[in-house]
Amino acid sequence: MDDLMRRQLLVELKRAGYRDAYYSEEHDAVFPMDKEFPGIQIRDKEIRMPRLEQPPYILGQPAIHKSELEQQQRDLVYQVFRPITDKVEEMVYAWRNAFPMKAQDVEEFRLLSEHGKIVLAARDDGERGLHFTTWEYSYNRNGVGHGHYTTDYEGAKRDFAVRSGLIPEKLIFAKEELEQIYSALVFQGKNDDELTFDKERELHGVIHKLETISPELKDTLEVPAQENEPEPEL
């Protein structure tokens, strides 16, 4: 496994709460958990899941079924570890394809992107992984200033997009706004009788996209109260 990939993977796993994550030279893989699912291995291009066995029976009944355990393991791999490895691969790719900054005193940073006067750069901080920053170029572009420093990759990209004017800040919706948008789309889908076939298909497309971005949005919809209340006895 690539050195930067290994270091960054460990940093991101620990940030996500997997403090026991470790790298094994013998397997050339990162093991994110050493208790619940110790066999999961994150390798260079794949995540390996071990075949699970039926847990021991307690008083003649299984404490948990093998299929449930397998499902838990799959959820963990596809919903938690896969997004983390995707993100780390993206960071490492961006770092490898970037050139060193030309501005004064910041040569150890690599230029990931620039738009207008704003620049997004990163520095390799060894075991602490990549460190990101957004700066504003000076008038003659020889120097940079007004830095925003972070180790949060997504936050750095968002900051770059807003500072450079690629996206108006208001268009980055907060969680509550996303919930309201989702509710509005579902509300219109249920109630608007004048929707044409094409419009309805588009509406479902947006709902599906939002659900892909934030799967938890589905849970935010209130379950309607049961209408079939028992009639009072006469």
Partner: protein, 216 residues
Amino acid sequence: MLPYTFQRVMMAELRQAGYDKAKAFPGKYIQPVPELPITITDTRVSVPKDLGMMPGFSKLVRGLNTHLGIANEATWLFDNTPDSRSKVLDGQKLFVSYMNTLLTARMTENGEPQYFVQTKEYDGSLTVNKRTGSYMDAKLHFLVLSPIHKNIEAFSHKYMAQIYDALIYRGQHDTEMRPLESEILRNAISAIEQAFPGFAQERRQPEPETGLEVEP
């Protein structure tokens, strides 16, 4: 004062937003709606005082101011970005790139600005994913394609129009909304209107209700 680059960029933005009759008076100003005495220069949108009281007018002016901001940003980039020396870019201006995705622009032979969102392939060639005359549209497409901001994926121009429609529909018809929800909804509507001023004008109007007159 109306710089030439600004005039071309602003005219393209206005046309994309549906102001088909917008007219430019070179060196002086742009009139977005020839029937109304509104004028635009590179610094401001000017409105006669007595017109400011007309209903729906402030929304129109707010929309024009948003276009003005976008056009000024694009003009600055056109004026301050050198033509690329790369062979594959063929003299286009590289506005921004991230990983394999590029946002480039050029002025066509007839002086129209054109923005391209392109992907760099393994062999060094470029694939054009989007060609548009609107800078805002190009920026959003770039964000969608490059992984700079993943949550924007759903919010390209087409989807945003649908979201805007749904928000307005819920605002008009949902009688069970709580005050906090209503406030968040209004904020979201206002954010979209500021970024896409054309939506407010394009919104479908409710048909006048007929047959509800009370007979004597």
